[in-house]
Structures are given as C-alpha cells and as structure tokens.
C-alpha cells in the first residue's frame, strides 16, 4: 500500500509535481493507457466509467499491457461498445449478463494451456451481474481459484435497465422496484448481499473494497491483486448520478462520504482474513451521505428525519465501524 502520508506535500490528491515520478499514480501519468477512451456514452459524472478506466489502466500497467478484459452485460458494456464504435483500447470481450466470471475462467484457461500465463485476465461487471445473475458463476470461479481478477463496479442497482433494485441496493433506497411508498418505503431492511464477505468465505487469495474517491487506494489494490495469482475480487463503489439522484459533480464526493460515514468500509482480506481496514479520516453521520441523494429523499421531510430509518442506517454504519475498527489510530492487522 502506498502511504498517502508519505506524500511530500501532505495532500491526498492523485499526485502533484513533487511526487516521486516513478511511483506516481497511473491515472496521473501522461502516458496512461486510457483503456476506456473518450467518446463513450456514459452519463455525465459516471462513476462506473471512471472506475473502470482506473482499474483497467492499473491492471494493464501491472501486467505490462498483457490484459484481456471480460465484461458482463450492463451499463459499462452498453455505453462502451455500441456498434460501430468501441471505447476500449484493450482486448475485450462481452458475452452475457451472468457469465463474465465463467468466460474469464475460459480465457485464463486458454492462456494457461497456450503457455501465455503472462496474459492476465480481468473480469468486470456491475452489481447486478455480480451479486445477482452472475453470482453462481462468480462463486464457481472463486471456488476453483481460477486465475482471474473480478471487479464489481457497484452502483447499488440495475441502472442500465432504469434503476431497479439489486441485492446490492441499500435499505431505504428508492428504486423503480422499491418505490418510496407503503409501510416501509424504499428498499427494506434486512435484505441484501455482502459479496466481499462472501468472497472471503471462499478463502480466495485477495478481496478488497475500494471507491472511485481514492484513486491511489484503488490503484494500489489493483496492483496488489495483480501481484497475485488465483481468484481475486475487488468491489468498487461507483456512484451513479442517474440512479442515486445526485448532481454529476458529486460522484466522487458521495463515494467519499459513503466511506467516511461508515456505510462502505474499505478493507482488504487475504485468504479469508481481513488484513487491513482504512481508517475513517473525517467521520460524518450517515445523514451527510444520504441527504444529497434523491433516492433517500423520503427519509427526510423539511430537512428532518421522517422516522427511525435514518437511525437504523446509522446503526448499520456503526456496525461496520465497529466490525472493521474504522475509527482510532492503530492499523487493523491480523
């Protein structure tokens, strides 16, 4: 892990001209691969487009350009490869919504039998394809410890089809299939799937969570994952202005607040054990994170919480904070 404190300017920006040129972020380099190039059709301020470029660029750098990307159906695929134009600049394949991990397994197997183990395989999809429809294939890929880095770009709903609930949708969130009506408006409590923890239960070599709000951290995790063989899982929170009902310019800020409020803990795990959790640097109540998003607007009336649901969201955040020891100073290490 790159220690941001070592930054000579004491700042958390992607880099600055004083930084160590050799170790600067891929995203800061003039010759970065731009694996997902301009002209793609993502919405303004798309977190997924940003996340994908950061991840694939870093993976390309780590693998010295020898990368094959397998993409599940979803926003990322649709906005990047509408005939006759593709925004990808790397070897890339899209097959189906639910099979990206399996296709990646196949690609990795082909590379292995062909003696081209230097070619690394990265599979990616949104939360729908990862936590729901492709979950069986993902679990199989994990369980066999296939040599694939799987990256989930989590925007917490089926955005491609018009914002329907997925098993990654947080409680109370409004989606097209969990409207803010009835006795428990929005998505209900006590549901959802924590795929990073499930991935850990497969005892795979590496599991990590990250967001687009910290490019260096995200890149470092990709590099770490790429330094290993076997099944690796990276879960990246990518705010979606459309689905979250937030201004495009808030994409990164919201990802940051998700972390700082404790609802989205950043951690790494190796072989099923948490090895590191990123401390919250500027703790905020969940309200600060939820309020700017229209999908949570029904939690507030005239700026005040409508009922105890906000408190219950805070409880979830607090549970994360305590589980991963996100406050305090000592590093959480095994």
């Amino acid at each position: 892990m790159k220690n941001t404190q070592a930054n000579p300017k004491g700042i958390y920006t992607i880099s600055n001209r004083l930084g160590d040129q050799a170790n600067r972020a891929v995203q800061a380099s003039e010759d970065r691969p731009n694996s997902l190039t301009s002209g793609h059709r993502a919405c303004q301020g798309c977190g997924e487009a940003l996340g994908a470029r950061i991840v694939v660029d870093a993976a390309l750098r780590a693998a010295k350009g020898q990368i094959i990307v397998v993409n599940a159906t979803g926003c990322l695929e649709v906005f990047s490869t509408p005939y006759p134009e593709t925004a990808w600049q790397t070897a890339w394949v899209h097959s189906l919504f639910g099979n990206a991990p399996a296709v990646a397994t196949g690609v990795a197997a082909a590379m292995e039998v062909k003696g081209r183990g230097n070619v690394r395989v990265l599979a990616q999809g949104g939360d729908g394809s990862t936590t729901d429809i492709g979950f069986g294939c993902l679990s199989g890929m994990f369980e066999r410890n296939d040599d694939v880095l799987y990256v989930c770009y989590d925007n917490q709903a089926y955005m491609n089809t018009g914002v329907q609930r997925s098993s990654a949708t947080p409680p109370t969130a409004r989606t097209a299939t969990t409207p803010p009506v009835g006795s428990e408006p929005g998505n209900v409590f006590g549901t959802g799937k924590n795929v990073p923890l499930i991935a850990m239960a497969h005892q795979i070599p590496y599991v990590a969570t990250a967001t687009v709000a910290d490019v260096q951290d995200l890149e470092a995790k990709v590099f770490k994952a790429m330094s290993m063989r076997g099944a690796r899982y990276l879960h990246v929170l990518v705010p979606c202005p459309l689905g979250w009902g937030s201004p495009p310019r808030e994409t990164i800020n919201l990802a940051r607040l998700a972390v700082q409020c404790g609802l989205f803990p950043l951690f790494e795990a190796e072989n099923g054990t948490v090895t590191r959790a990123t401390k919250i640097r500027q703790p905020v109540p969940v309200e600060n994170y939820l309020k700017p998003q229209r999908r949570f607007a029904h939690l507030f009336k005239g700026g005040k919480p409508v009922d105890d649901r906000l408190a219950r969201m805070q409880e979830m955040a607090d549970a994360n904070i305590s589980r991963f020891n996100l406050l305090g100073h000592e590093e959480t290490c095994k």
Binding site: I11, Q44, A49, Q282
Partner: protein, 540 residues
C-alpha cells in the same frame, strides 16, 4: 477477417464527440491568493512558495526580489499579513510564509546571490530622499528599471527605521547591512549624512528627473504629565536610535515603558537587555486592544517584562510614578476610576507613536499635507509633478513592508512617468477564497515554527531571538501552501474525468480541456483541491 458488427476496432469511440452533451464548461482560472492579496509589498507569495517547495530556492528568492529586495529583513521584521490571510487557517494553521522568506533571504546572503541584471539604462536620474525601507525599495526598483538613482540619507547609515527603530535582537545588523549592500552593489548611489533640508532647491536644480520622498517618521509623539527635574522621561525613538551608537543609553534598573505598540515592546525588551531588573509596560487599555503583535507581547512576557493594563500615567516625580487606574465601561472603553497606584521607577520611556519631519517641504509650495502626513495620488505622486513620496511619511499603515511596497509602486510610477507611458493597469484576479477549496485533499500538517533562543540568553544579549528554519523545515513549510486558486498540477482533474477529456501537457505545463469529449459533469471542478477550475454555462 473480423466478424461484422460484433467485433470492433479499438478506440473507435473517439469518432463520437460527446462534448455536445455539455451545458456547462469547465476552464482553468487564476485566482488571487489571499496571501498575495494581503502582502503590502505585493509579493507573489504563492509563486515563490511553489518554487521553494520544488527546492528551487534561488528561483524562489528571485521571485521575491521582483517585488521586495529584502527577503532576509522582511523574513524577520514583517508582521506578515499574508499569514493572517492564509486560507490554511481553515485547516489547522497558516503557512509560515515569513519564516520561509527568511530562510530564502538568509540563503541568498550566504550563497551571495545577486539581483538580476537591470534593464537597459534609461539615462534618467532619480533622487531618493531617505534610505529607509521605502527609499531603498524605490531605489532598488528604479535601478532595476534602468534609472540612475541617488539616495540621500540624513543619518549615519542607511536603513531608516530598520536600523534605528528595530532592535538588533530582531534584526541583526549584518543582515541589514548585507541586503543594503546588495542594493548599493546594484549601482544605487548612497549618500549618508546628507540631510536634504529644502526640497525646492533640489527640484529647481534639475539635477534629477524625479524625486522620491521617504523621510519616514522619526519624531516621537509625547504626552504631558507632571514630572520633577530629576525624573527621566525619554522617548522610544531616541532610545532605539541611540542603540546604534557606541555608547548605549542608560536607563537604570527600573524602567517603565508607556504605550502598547510594537515600539513599546521593542524598547521594553531593549531595556531588559541593557540590564534593567524591572521593566514594566503600562498601557491604558487591555491586552486585546494592544496594537503590538501578540507574539511580541508573548516574547516580552517570556523575558520577564511586566505589563500593567488599564492604567495611565498621572505624574512622575522623584522616581515615583503615580498611575491612574482605569476600568472598562459598558462599551468596552477604558474610563478613569479615580483610584491610583504608585510605583518606583528610574525612568519612563514614552512609546506613543511617531510623526514625520516635514521641514524640507516647508519651502516647497503646493504640496498637500494633512495630519502631519504628505498626500499622494494613486501613483504615489504628490501634487507636484515628478515628486513622489512613500513610506511612513504618507498616510498609511506604518510598517517596513508597507514602505517596501510604496517604494516599488512609486518606482514603477516614476518609471512610467519618466518614460511618458501609461502605467498598465494591473489585472486583479478574483480572490481565491477558502470556500472554493476542497479541503478533503489537504492533510493536517502542523507548522514548522522557528525556534527561539533560550530565555537566559535572550535577556542578557542582543543576539537574534528567533532562529531560522533548517532547509528541511523550510521545504516542508513551503509545501504546506494550498496553492489557493491556482493549479499546482495535482492531477486530480486529469485523474477524475470520466471522459478522459483533460489532456496533461507535461510537468509545469498544466492541463488542457478537450471540449470535444468534455460532457461538463463538473467533477474536475468539484475535485480541484485549490479551486482553480470554473464552471460556466455554455452559450446557447
């Protein structure tokens, strides 16, 4: 043969210009950093800090001396309004700009850096009257602009209040001498012990094409109270000036200083160093109202100087000082209580402010003078064409840095006037306010403070109290600069653009926005730590 439609050539999306989706356009702006805005000498502080943080110290120094020829002096005596304005205070504490400036100034002396070559000779001659900060600054800037400058100084040595008002423990004379010498070496003719008594003569002689007046304010303001013949009442200006003589003033064991300004502190601390056992400052208001800088008061207190607040001098007879006690009224103003207290003292030093000696103007008609100060226009020119003025003698804040700023401004005006050109109006960017910062990106980093020599040492000698920063400390301190309102190439905009619409032009060259692909999401602006990206609506 690639299958039709299902297999696509890489990177072909570049044919699709998504910039047409944009309703707002980002652009890089330059905003005026608050430090620069606050600097009386008009230093481009952010720029030289940015050079310093790259360890380009000489370039940083050269950037300072474009505006101020005295980094080593200012790095000691300036009351740094820049730091008071610094946005970093909203994170933890301001950047120690002054200490970095001193580091650069000292390094310049040590490494014998000389000023840049002056501009081509103009053939014009300018007289500067008074070799204080304003006069020397004007002389330097005029020389830099190619003019022949003569400085006439009434006192023995150049420096004005820097020498005759600021104690050595705050400004060692070798530093002062070195920076003055550098100006002299630059070709400025300095004539000391040359008091100009009649400006009219000088102007009429036509020996000079322009004159800059900067005689300062060396006449102490006094106050009246009953004294007896044996009671010594001195003024601070004289005491401090006499400190430059071989024979130091004799103040006695017990000294009372009357006043609450920086001069009061200076003289009190000087008295202590001269051997006074008991030095007391008496001041009619409270500490909060004291005009002296807080750190000066602190340092004085550390050195054992006592301060009596809310007292005025009633009378001083036979070493017995009677003080009238004051109390704050409802509005917070001190009012006499009628109660007194007494104390013994060997002398009283009055530090109640200064006036300028404007005798040389008496025979020069048409100059506008109000409240003992000479009026100038926005170009620093008096109502007489070709006669300019600055420093403590014009109505303005009386600080050395202000004087330096006056000198610079006047020099540029004189230059324009001599060349008969309009002085270009300097474009002032909008202020880089703290609200525009994205503070998330700045870690809390505590200030690298200058150390003080120990108290025992301080109270016995005139050695410099404040030590300089080490190179490492100066470097780290310069790196605390937030670069408010101006790009410092942190790569945030480049890194966070989901559309790769920002082109990186290379180190030092900044960035360019490719509007063919920029969708106007505003992430670059939101995530710019220093607030240098503006979003403006597209013309429709």
């Amino acid at each position: 043969m690639k299958p039709f439609a299902t297999v696509l050539e890489v990177g072909t999306s570049l044919n699709n210009h998504t910039g047409s989706w944009r309703t707002e356009r980002p652009s890089y702006a330059h905003r005026l950093p608050p430090c620069n805005n606050a600097c009386p000498a008009g230093e481009n502080i952010q720029e030289w800090l940015s050079l310093a943080e790259q360890e380009k110290y000489e370039e940083a120094w050269r950037e300072i001396v474009k505006n101020n020829p005295f980094p080593a002096i200012m790095g000691r005596v300036c009351y740094h309004p820049c730091e008071n304005a610094c946005n970093r205070v909203t994170i933890e504490s301001p950047v120690g700009i002054n200490s970095v400036e001193r580091f650069l100034g000292d390094k310049a002396i040590r490494d014998k850096w000389a000023f840049d070559r002056p501009a081509a000779k103009s053939g014009k001659k300018v007289l500067v009257i008074g070799a204080g900060p304003a006069g020397l600054s004007a002389a330097y800037h005029l020389a830099r602009l190619g003019h022949k400058v003569t400085v006439k100084e009434s006192l023995k040595k150049a420096g004005g209040m820097l020498r005759y008002g600021i104690p050595q423990y705050r400004l060692p004379r070798k530093i002062l001498d070195a920076e003055i010498k550098r100006i002299v070496d630059y070709g400025v003719e300095l004539e000391v012990n040359k008091k100009v008594t009649n400006l009219a003569e000088v102007v009429e002689s036509k020996a000079f094409d322009a004159v800059f007046l900067s005689v300062g304010a060396h006449i102490a303001k006094l106050t009246e109270f009953p004294t007896s013949p044996r009671s010594r009442v001195l003024d601070a200006v004289a005491v401090l000036r006499d400190m430059e003589n071989r024979e130091k003033p004799k103040l006695g064991k017990r000294v009372v200083v009357y006043g609450g300004g920086n001069t009061a502190m200076d003289v009190a601390r000087t008295a202590k160093r001269l051997g006074a056992k008991e030095v007391t400052i008496v001041y009619r208001r409270t500490r909060e109202k004291m005009p002296a800088h807080s750190f000066e008061i602190d340092e004085a207190l550390q050195e054992g100087i006592k301060i009596k607040f809310l007292v005025t001098i009633k009378k001083y007879q036979n070493k017995k000082l009677t003080l009238g006690k004051m109390a704050l009224d409802a509005k917070g103003y001190p009012q006499p209580t009628g109660k007194n207290e007494t104390m013994e003292t060997d002398c009283i030093v009055l530090a109640l402010g200064q006036d300028s000696d404007l005798a040389l103007l008496e025979k020069f008609p048409g100059l506008e003078i109000a409240d003992g100060a000479l009026k100038v226009d926005s170009r620093m020119m008096t109502s007489h064409a070709g006669v300019f003025a600055g420093g403590d003698m014009i109505p303005f804040e009386r600080t050395a840095t202000t004087g330096v700023g006056h000198g610079k401004k006047a020099a540029r005006s004189i230059d324009a006037w001599l060349r008969k050109v309009e002085q270009p109006a300097t474009e002032k960017h909008p202020l880089a306010t703290a609200e525009r910062l994205n503070k998330w990106y700045y870690a809390e980093v505590s200030e690298n403070k200058r150390k003080l020599i120990d108290i025992a040492h301080r109270t016995k000698t005139f050695d410099e109290v404040q030590l300089g920063l080490s190179e490492a400390e100066a470097l780290n301190e310069s790196r605390r600069c937030l670069s408010c309102g101006n790009c410092f190439e942190c790569d945030n905009c480049y890194g966070v653009c989901p559309d790769n619409a920002i082109r990186k032009l290379g180190a030092g060259k900044g960035f360019k926005i490719d509007y063919d692909y920029c969708k106007g999401c505003g992430l670059c602006a939101a995530e710019c730590p220093c607030g240098c990206i503006e979003m403006t609506p597209e013309d429709i």
